[in-house]
Amino acid sequence: MSTPPVLRVRDLTTRFHTSHGTVTAVNGVSFDVARGETLGLVGESGSGKSVTAMSVLRLVAKPGRIVGGRVELNGTDLLTLNEEEMRQRRGSECGMVFQNPMTALNPAFSVGWQMREALTAHERGNGTAGRIHAALADVGMPDPERQAASFPHQMSGGMRQRVVIAMGMINEPQLLIADEPTTALDVTIQAQVLDLMKNLTRDHGTALLLITHNMGVVAKMCDRVAVMYAGEIVEEAPVDELFGNSRHPYTRGLLRSIPRADRPRQKTPTLPGSPPDMSRLPAGCRFRDRCVFADDRCENHPDLLAVGARHKARCWKTQNGETLDETALSQEVPHGV
């Protein structure tokens, strides 16, 4: 890549100190997001994907603490900035869209008032009303003048999430971080909101970091994908490569275990077991207990290494060029827990 990435994260590590001990929720995570590119960060609950997003924005709440690494936004390491410098970058250089539009908006103020706040926090000037109406029109709100005067509770969930996206995009940030932006929405509304985000980021050349657990959303939206498991990235690849030729047993099992709307009644292949307890992680490969391919090598912790062009995996087997045999994955597991 010739141009430097908009976001460059290296060895990011975030810990939570609790009465039950220390949990390393994000463990040495590294990735880039280029201009106009969408990187999907996927994983199940507890995998550390949301904590990674919050760490990039330096919004991790206590008892969480970023203990190491670098987060470079356009070449500036955000982790070295003071709180005021960081506050100025949030919302202007880096927009945010969170899962629940009801809690992201203040119920006591009109939508237009809140959007003006997002705008004037970073610049003063005339024509704010016009820009607010334009931003609302951009996200497909009919009659933006009237909508700007309404309050969040007067809107449907889909409309609220459009407002949150309009707020995230109003300062034309180079990076947008969206954490499960459509999970709370109905599927027909989800489709509308995803189409909208895709068009907006394409038109503005925004780098998008999209956090989701939904592989259908990843397939629709992303250029590249990083899969997280137990606080680490276990695989990273361009989207077609990941879905067509995944090189980590977790990704492979996850993709196979998704029921599909175009199939009739049948059993879905499953991934046995459940993710490990983050305060009692196994030594070696963290996926070892659930992996049908595990052998002696897996007692040592593997690194995330290249297994192909632009394709990395954290697995001893594929790093040695061995294939993941589909028939082994298909073995019937009696309701394993």
């Binding site: 599927v187 599909r260 059993k267 499953t270 459940s274």
Partner: protein
């Protein structure tokens, strides 16, 4: 809809439920028709999937079916008998139902052990010694029987939902109603639970009413599928027939909005056709309730309500134009 004159296990006839809603500051009380004339049937050992978006009335339908709510109109019959018949007869019939809810941690008493919660339906039937049955049920749902002595918060989400299923099945119910029972689980656990439900049905012959917003999950488990929109059934069909050829424009839109884990397929598809939001059930549109969002709608649809009719092979649809342009699911080439 009962076929061959045989009484189906469960029969729901023209079921209606209205709620009286007073909006804040307003003087008048308005009527919310959550379920508006739903009929369905369920045979022994069968799974009927009900799919729809929020506000379509699917959860109210679940509560009406198991007898947690009394209908405003219509009847729920099990083995031909009304579940609201006064006295012991009705009470006995309501006991043939069990329910599994969306949130497993909220559906178990946090201060009792898992074993005590699982044993409850048996104790309600007057069974004294439940230990053996609890152990057998926990094993059946893939849990270590030693977990019976734990409190719910000591179990993971997937384990809690398995325990909820054990509790639902322990007193040998005829019908288990699942209301979004896998929605709060992670993807790898969803498939585990779906497969468990399929296996248990094979072993025990229990019937399921499986209610979900997730069309893919409904397809994976159901023999027949019903699609609801604003309190009404818009389509009812055998699952295989439905997965190949959804007829109602709303079902087609639902199907097209359900993303597949397949990048080539997702890129090839254009922007989604369906516009706008679901209208308020307090003030549903005239005629066909879907006409405000429907790509096929004409003046007729705003004026005349389409009745649920047979479009061939027992595939029921409530649409004036179902055969004309519906059934066009985005091409699935390259999709497995």
């Amino acid at each position: 809809m009962a076929s061959e004159g045989k009484t189906p296990l469960l029969q729901v006839e023209n079921l209606k439920k209205q709620f009286h809603v007073r909006s804040r500051g307003a003087r008048d009380i308005r009527l919310l028709r959550a379920v508006d004339g739903v009929s369905l049937h369920l045979e022994a050992g069968e799974t009927l999937g009900i799919v729809g978006e929020s506000g379509c009335g699917k959860s109210t339908l679940a509560r009406l079916t198991v007898g947690l709510l009394q209908p405003s109109e219509g009847r729920v019959l099990i083995d031909g008998g009304d579940i609201w018949e006064p006295g012991a007869a009705g009470r006995e019939r309501r006991r043939k139902f069990q329910m599994v809810f969306q949130n497993p941690s909220g559906s178990m008493n946090p201060r009792r052990t898992v074993g005590a919660s699982v044993a409850e339906p048996l104790q309600a039937k007057g069974v004294r010694n439940t230990a053996e049955a609890v152990e057998r049920m926990l094993t059946l749902v893939g849990l270590d029987p030693a977990l019976a002595t734990r409190k719910p918060h000591q179990l993971s989400g997937g384990q809690q939902q398995r325990a909820s299923i054990a509790r639902a099945l322990i007193a040998d119910p005829a019908i288990v109603v699942h209301d979004e029972s896998i929605a709060s689980l992670d993807i790898s656990l969803q498939a585990q639970i779906l497969n468990l439900l399929l296996d248990l049905q094979e072993d025990l012959g229990t019937s399921y009413l499986f209610i979900s917003h997730d069309l893919a999950a409904v397809q994976a488990i159901s023999h027949r599928v019903i699609v609801m929109y604003l309190g009404e059934v818009v389509e009812a069909s055998a699952a295989e027939e439905f997965s190949g050829r959804p007829l109602h424009p709303y079902s087609v839109a639902l199907r097209n909005a359900t993303l597949l884990p397949d990048p080539a397929h997702e890129r090839a598809r254009g922007d989604t056709a369906l516009r706008g939001d679901v209208p308020s059930p307090m003030n549903p549109p005239s005629g066909c309730r879907f006409h405000t969002r429907c790509p096929l709608a004409t003046d007729l649809c705003a004026q005349q309500k389409p009745l649920l009719r047979d479009a061939g092979r027992g595939h029921l649809v409530a649409c004036h134009y179902a055969e004309a342009g519906a059934g066009e699911v985005a091409t699935q080439e390259g999709a497995l």
